[in-house]
């Protein structure tokens, strides 16, 4: 059995998806600690606080970011770039979006995203696949992957 992820941060503007994600993670025993934000600015502020050191180990182990976050001053790819290049690249990070635009996927890859999960009505199998690959993302041994 795969081990649980210590803590997950979800950044997505859709509150309903927070519930879907939380329930899916709980049913699949992916994590016990899940925090959901609906603004990339808020996530940015939190990472600024954790940067450069995180003595209380508050930084999440894994971050899922939506591509287009309505009401935020920048999109998910920019948030990933900031986390990776400005705040120290200390977590597994990737996109979770309903888009499968190749150009955006390439941009995310360039910003340091490790995975791209396509949102759909049936999210659970994708999260399960992701969980199987998770250790590889932590060790930085897995290549970038799109979960379709």
């Amino acid at each position: 059995m795969n081990e649980m992820i210590n803590s997950i941060l979800l950044v997505d503007d859709e509150d309903l998806f927070h519930l879907v994600f939380e329930d899916a993670c709980s049913i699949l025993d992916i994590t016990l600690s899940l925090e959901a934000l609906n603004s990339s600015d808020e996530a940015d502020r939190m990472f600024k606080q954790w940067f450069p050191d995180d003595p209380n180990q508050e930084r999440p182990e894994c971050v899922f970011v939506d591509l287009n976050i309505i009401g935020s001053s920048f999109d998910g790819i920019e948030l990933i770039r900031k986390i990776n290049f400005d705040y120290g690249n200390g977590c597994v990070i990737g996109i979770i979006s309903s888009s499968d635009d190749n150009q955006e996927i390439e941009k995310a890859k360039a910003a340091g995203a490790q995975f791209w999960i396509i949102k759909s009505d049936d999210i659970e199998p994708r999260l399960e696949d992701f969980r199987k690959d998770y250790q590889g993302y932590v060790n930085k041994t897995n290549p970038f992957k799109v979960y379709k």
Binding site: E14, F17, L19, V20, D23, A24, I27, L32, S33, D121
Partner: protein
């Protein structure tokens, strides 16, 4: 994992039995039954099953709501697009109405001009007809006058009796002059009245 004390264990089991209230959520996953405590292990199993069932139900409902929201958004977009098309059609109709009004005004102007031209043509025809009548009348008057005068002259020169021809010439001339002036007067009157209209 958090080990459970005997007191907590008993309370949890009591509450579950009497009030059907069970521990739920992620906290449940970090509770550990004391070694060999089959009853509490069973309790935790029931709690997990209940929690999992509730979450599955909620997940299903949330997905359904999410799907309906997407459909609503999609329909809203369709409605917006239709409203936009309607707005464009309305503006186009307004523009068409304006063009139609302009065309109507131009047509009315054209019709007015055509009526004026027609009236002018009628007047011209009338005037030409009057001119012809006047000319013919004058030719007749002058012709009759000349003929009567020639006949009267010939009678005078030939020394024949001129009593009848003389009075005839005189009467004829009087009548012709009267008629001529009457005709000219009538024509001038008609012309004056037409010009005024």
């Amino acid at each position: 994992m958090i080990p459970i004390t005997k007191h907590t264990r008993d309370v949890l089991l009591e509450v579950a039995k009497k009030k059907k209230i069970y521990v739920e959520g992620n906290f449940l996953k970090i509770l550990q039954a004391p070694n060999g405590d089959v009853e509490f292990e069973e309790y935790l199993k029931v709690c997990k099953e209940k929690d999992s069932t509730a979450r599955r139900k909620r997940l299903q409902v949330t997905k359904q709501v999410q799907k309906q929201n997407k459909e609503l958004v999609s329909k809203q977009e369709e409605t917006d697009a239709l409203m936009e098309e309607l707005q464009i059609a309305l503006e186009s109709a307004k523009q068409s109405e304006e063009v139609a009004n302009q065309l109507r005004e131009e047509a009315e102007k054209g019709m007015g001009k055509a009526l004026e031209d027609l009236e002018l043509m009628q007047k011209k025809t009338q005037f030409e007809l009057i001119s012809t009548i006047v000319k013919v009348a004058l030719y007749v008057i002058v012709g009759v006058g000349v003929l009567t005068t020639v006949m009267y002259g010939l009678a005078l020169m030939s020394g024949t009796d001129t009593q009848i021809i003389g009075s005839t010439w005189s009467n004829m001339f009087g009548i012709l002059l009267t008629n001529a002036f009457s005709i000219v007067g009538t024509i001038m009157g008609v012309k004056y009245a037409t010009e005024k209209e």
